[in-house]
Amino acid sequence: MTPKYIWLAHFVGLFMTCILSQDCNLLKVHLSTVTWQNLKILNEMSNSIPIECLREIQDFKLPKEIQPEKTSIKYIFYEMFTQAINIFSQNTSNSTWDKEQLVQFQNKLYEQIEYLQQCLNKENKEKEDMKEVKADEKEHSGAEVLWQSQLKLRRYFSRIYNFLKDKKYSRCAWEIVRVEIRRCFHYFETFTKS
């Protein structure tokens, strides 16, 4: 009985994201699963930070004041994944990561970006259709909150970019960034549960 269930669990893990990537209504479940998979890859790419890099650790001030709600979560995740793919597409020649794993990570991120883009486009279309209807105040303030959250996230990623540039994409810098991105994913994944 047990080996059978292990096989099934393995298959289910692979299969869930595939199937879920087609339906925007299952967004939260999808994002949760996918983020865990990304975290797994980030973990496997490297062992812990080498000791000599510890003194270069910097506090990037992850914006924990951002508490995305159901409506805004796809924007936050789109931003997060887009920035992550941008960061990891820069010069990683100094890192000691397995190239295959890096490619797999980028592949996964791209899949999510495509999926989220499709969902965002759908939402934009719906909004355009409803343009005649006046947006009520609640929605307006919601949009403002979203803007603020996006800006905070932007500043956070800007700090990471500048750090990498300043350290000239060294091996230590990449390790620190890898850990930071992992923290970021982990924090926002908790909002897919609510």
Partner: protein, 487 residues
């Protein structure tokens, strides 16, 4: 007091407009400006503070466009808006989406509007025609739409001898993907290439790193079969090119492969548990909203019943003590497509016995309990009889007891070790010495006789006389007889 800094480029300006740039500016932080007028040595007071976030206010400028033409397609190379060291869009370089408007130079009416990736192609054009286009960058996430680039025109080339392959289609089975295409001519060989989807986004205008599919180089057939594991889960693009030794065709239109579409839904794992007169069915389901189609039937019949369920459920109203078998398959239905799994293994289970049987069992238990009580009672009585027969009490029955009220007589009935002896004395006295000796012996005999006949007191005296006389005769003979024997 705030630390106000002079804005370079906007000092002593003549008009009411000035241009400034702050290279180290954090475009996501609020920026505050204030203005005052000066005339000679007089200055006005400061205006109201104008604060804004540069990124929010900023408008996207025109991208830079560079074109390359084929016979029926144009390749568009796009550089993102802003300079290389631009600060405003440094985080968005790869997030821009580009929208293109294209028309034939001859007729301004015909317009095509498309979304395009940098390095992307526009297909289905006519050869030897001039096409003009303009491109703008967009950041939909922030509802920002940029300005169009200046118009760019290009001529498509003469039609190529070999056309590119057309109508690329992808299908899959358990182990491999199959790419099929159409081609009008024979005696050509094909080669197939693939590309990671994300490279289209992140590599910008640099050449994309297309890779060959092994087993599909210089093939003569119009299809390519390759193992699924070559392209693990993700988004890819495939393209095909034809060649006949002398010339090669341009690359076909790229076909997007999203491996997610070809995933196999595993069959569900079901287990059953009989509950009363129904069967509880447990489906091992992932967190995905699948619909399960369940077929169940009685073990020896042919009629199947089908139901649709979402999670664990109960099949009710079944026959007791019957074996039912169940098999299930999963369906995934979404807006774009639907998929089904194969049927699971068949699981059979017997239902529990019915309620009437149960009541018979209870009755049986009651009867058994009563039976046991009766048995115990009988056994008790038997034990009493047994004890009476083999281990009687030594009390005499009550009616005899009446007569045995005196103590000494009671003692007579008991066997004692002590012998009761009566002393006897001789009445006749002839040979007193010998008789005396004899009487001692006789006494002893008597004693012996007494002991023997102690119980019989009646016969006692007669025997005594006989023995006594016999003994005296013997004595007389002894005394008189001796002279006779001497001769």
């Amino acid at each position: 007091m705030d630390d106000w800094i002079k804005l370079p480029g906007c000092q002593h300006t003549a008009g009411t407009k000035c241009y400034f740039s702050l290279p180290d500016l954090d475009v996501y932080e609020e920026l505050q400006l204030r203005i005052r007028t000066e005339k000679g040595n007089d200055t006005s007071s400061w205006s109201e503070v104008y604060s804004f976030i540069p990124f929010k206010k900023a408008q996207i400028g025109p991208p830079k466009v560079h074109l390359a033409a084929e016979d029926k397609a144009i390749t568009i190379y796009i550089s993102p808006p802003g300079t290389e060291d631009n600060v405003m869009w440094s985080l968005d370089e790869k997030a821009f989406t580009y929208r293109l408007v294209m028309w034939k130079n001859s007729s301004n009416i015909e317009e095509r509007i498309e979304t395009v990736h940098p390095g992307g192609k526009i297909y289905k054009l006519s050869p030897e025609t001039t096409y003009c286009l303009k491109v703008r960058a967009e950041l939909l996430m922030y509802s920002k739409i940029g300005i169009y680039s200046p118009v760019c025109c290009i001529n498509t080339t003469v039609e190529n001898k070999l056309p590119p392959p057309e109508n690329l289609e992808i299908s899959a089975n358990n182990e491999s993907y199959i790419l099929k295409w159409d081609y009008a001519y024979v005696n050509v060989t094909f080669q197939v290439q693939w590309l990671h989807g994300f490279l289209k986004v992140i590599s910008g205008t640099s050449l994309h790193k297309w890779e060959q599919i092994p087993n599909c180089e210089h093939i003569k057939i119009t299809y390519c079969v390759f193992l699924r594991k070559l392209l693990p889960k993700g988004i890819y693009y495939l393209r095909v090119q034809a060649s006949n030794g002398n010339s090669t065709s341009f690359w076909s239109q790229e076909k997007k492969l999203n491996t997610a579409i070809y995933t196999i839904i595993p069959p569900p794992v079901i287990s059953m548990k009989p509950v009363n007169d129904s069967l509880r069915v447990y489906v091992n389901a992932p967190e995905v909203p699948l619909i399960y189609e369940i077929s169940f039937w009685e073990n020896n019949s042919n009629t199947e019943r089908k139901i649709k369920e979402k999670t664990d459920f109960t099949i009710a109203n079944l026959q007791p003590l019957t074996v039912y078998c169940v098999k299930a398959r999963a369906h995934f239905v979404s807006e774009s497509w639907n998929k089904s799994s194969i049927f699971s293994d068949i699981v059979c289970e017997k239902t529990k016995p019915g309620n009437s049987y149960k009541s018979w069992v209870i009755a049986g238990i009651c009867i058994a309990a009563v039976f046991i009580v009766v048995i115990i009672y009988i056994m008790k009585n038997l034990l009493r009889c047994f004890n009476y027969v083999f281990f009687p009490s030594l009390k005499p029955p009550s009616n005899i007891d009446k007569y045995l009220s005196e103590q000494p007589l009671k003692n007579l009935l008991l066997l004692t070790t002590e012998e009761q002896i009566e002393r006897c004395s001789i009445i006749e006295n002839t040979n007193t010495n010998t008789i005396m000796k004899e009487t001692n012996q006789i006494d002893e005999d008597h004693k012996r006789y007494n002991s023997q006949t102690s119980q019989d007191s009646g016969n006692y005296s007669n025997e005594d006389e006989n023995t006594g006389s016999k003994a005296s005769e013997e004595l007389l003979q002894l005394e008189t007889g001796s002279p006779e024997t001497n001769s």
